[in-house]
């Protein structure tokens, strides 16, 4: 049977992709609109980008969000990878079901529930032990919690497909289990580690609902500032900001995608060479 999609299927696929991308393309186009009125094309201009560069509120929020994202995704990478190792390598231990449940649940838990419950925890903890007060710390903790779930899912499937006999061979040759893991398995799962760190970073950078609940009075993240402006209607400097973010993320994902594919091909070639 031919492995080609029929013209009808292909058309539907193209329409679906157009649906996904058209709004973003239009947004980027309009960010260069000289007119402040969204419906009128007033000629090409980079005016809103210049305006954006002088907006202290947005720049401050962006700095805070980048800081949160960098710390939270790094924390999530460590915890999520440990959880993945535990779930893949240790088939039997007390609390395994609990861990696997807690790793999978944040993926489908409505953010608003996670946000509200975490806020109630932080408030109760502050009352009981005097820590943590709402702000940067609580946002980072909340982000680590949901990002680590994504890290575990990504690393877990990669780790499960990694060949354990290579690690055993290294141990036969005198490596400690830790050495064997670092020298043999870590390079194999490295692409999954990189992509899950990046995914955590973007998820953290994008989070509005959970951050709104757990943040403090003076810690507004970028999505919170964007949301409060967008709720009032279209604003041209948000168009410019959105275009910048979409473009930067798009380019980063493309580069990461190409790198991961190249690493993958390299690994397959190496394996073929080793087998031959």
């Amino acid at each position: 049977m031919e492995r080609r999609p029929s013209p009808l299927l292909l058309t539907l696929l193209c329409l679906g992709i157009a649906f996904l991308y058209l709004p973003m393309v239009v947004l980027i186009a309009y960010s260069f609109n000289a007119s402040a009125l969204a419906s009128v094309w007033g000629g090409f201009s980079t005016h809103w980008y210049v305006e954006l560069a002088h907006n202290r509120q947005i720049l401050g929020a962006a700095g805070l969000s980048l800081e949160v994202a960098a710390l939270a995704s790094t924390g999530a990478l460590v915890l999520g990878t440990l959880a993945a190792i535990a779930l893949v390598r240790f088939t039997r231990f007390r609390g395994r079901l609990l861990l696997s449940g807690m790793v999978n649940a944040p993926l489908v838990m409505p953010e608003i529930i996670t946000g509200i419950t975490q806020l109630l925890l932080f408030v109760s903890m502050l009352q009981l032990i005097g820590w943590p007060s709402r702000g940067l710390t609580t946002i980072i903790i909340a982000h680590v919690a949901f990002c680590s779930a994504y890290v575990t899912i990504t690393v877990q499937s990669r780790l499960a497909s990694a060949d354990r006999s290579l690690e055993e061979a290294a141990m036969d040759l005198g490596a400690t289990p830790f050495q064997a893991f670092v020298d043999v398995t870590l390079p194999i799962i490295a692409p999954a580690l990189v992509s899950s760190w990046l995914l955590s970073f973007t998820l953290s950078l994008d989070d509005l609902v959970i951050s709104s609940f757990v943040s403090g009075p003076r810690s507004s993240t970028l999505p919170m500032v964007i949301y409060s402006k967008v709720k009032l209607g279209v604003s041209p400097d948000i168009n410019a900001l959105a275009s910048l973010i979409i473009t930067i993320v798009g380019v980063c994902v493309l580069i990461a995608g190409v790198l991961v594919r190249r690493a993958e091909r390299q690994r397959l070639a190496d394996n073929a060479l080793a087998a031959g």
Binding site: P5, F93, I116, V249
Partner: protein
């Protein structure tokens, strides 16, 4: 060490010995404890506070558990919040409305996503990689900004109306913003990748020889699709539907930005209860009741995920 047989294995001692025997707990405990404290235990606190009463203090609720000066433990559970949920009909109405909205958006996602996933699975291997990237890319892009971008298309003076007016198809701008349709459109637009990817994963693994067998036995292509492909892609359909349905029920941003005042989804009610009314105990009760209602779909999702991982 002295009377050790020269070629016998050296018994590990001290810290090394402990790490050897219990080392795995060094790996298991950090994520287990972190998620326990910061993900699971919060639900316990929410449950506790849902039995409290709103109070004018910081934090704004009464103590459920307190110790009086004569060292007696007092537990005061108030069911008033849950009674309130049952008596004020805004909660029941918004629960039902959220479930209906999520259901129809999921159905739309499935109808649009299935052909896309099917076309992807039938493309060449090189093409599949590229298409994967194209479908995943929006998922990486800011959710909030994508909803905002969609608003640019469907606004009264948005691209859609401008083009349709210019073409003369319509005389007056279509009213899409602040309608139920806009909420559907927003959910489909935001969650479509979540539907396509699991569908693609199952369809891609589908054994083509089964379809060939069906066609050899005289099945027409669409009949083979109904009898073979559709049942076999059920795990993907369920996984994708749950990934869209569950978050869509609790969606806040989409109804708040694209919907009108009638589009009262439970996420919005919860948000307002919290940020506008400052009634934390009622908000906690809404969240707990919401979670109980979602337990079924979440369990279904977990069940299929675990099965998927084991195969």
């Amino acid at each position: 060490m002295i009377d050790r047989a020269p070629d016998g294995p050296q018994p590990p001692r001290g810290l090394a010995h402990w790490v050897d025997r219990h080392g795995r707990w060094l790996i298991i405990l950090p994520p287990l404890l972190f998620l326990l404290v910061f993900f699971l235990i919060p639900f316990g606190f929410a449950l506790k506070i849902s039995f409290a009463e709103a109070a004018l203090r910081i934090p704004p609720f009464s103590d459920v558990v307190s110790v009086s000066p004569d060292h007696k433990l007092h537990v005061v559970l108030s069911l008033a919040n849950y009674k309130y949920l049952l008596t004020d009909e805004v909660y029941a109405v918004s629960y039902l409305y959220s479930i209906r909205t999520a259901f129809f958006s999921t159905l739309l996602c499935l109808l649009i996503g299935y052909p896309m996933a099917y076309a992807m699975a039938r493309s060449s291997k090189a093409m599949q990689g590229i298409l994967m990237l194209i479908i995943i890319l929006p998922f990486w892009t800011s959710f909030l900004l994508r909803v905002y971008a969609l608003e640019g298309i469907i606004r009264d003076q948005g691209l859609l109306n401008t083009v349709l007016l210019w073409l003369g198809v319509i005389k007056e701008p279509l009213k899409i913003m602040r309608t139920t349709f806009a909420v559907y459109l927003g959910i489909v637009y935001s969650y479509l990748p979540f539907m396509v990817l699991p569908l693609y994963a199952t369809l891609e693994k589908l054994d083509q020889t089964l379809l060939e067998a069906a066609s050899d036995l005289g099945s027409r292509p669409w009949q083979a699709f109904i009898d073979v492909t559709l049942p076999l892609s059920m795990p993907g359909i369920i996984a994708g539907s749950m990934l869209v349905f569950i978050p869509a029920v609790g969606e806040y941003v989409i109804p708040a930005l694209l919907g009108g005042p009638d589009n009262l989804m439970i996420g919005r009610v919860l948000w307002d209860e919290f940020f506008s009314n400052h009634d934390w105990p009622v908000a906690a009760a809404v969240a707990i009741a919401f979670l109980v209602l979602l337990a079924g779909p979440i369990a279904l999702h977990q069940h299929y995920r675990v099965r998927q991982l084991e195969h």
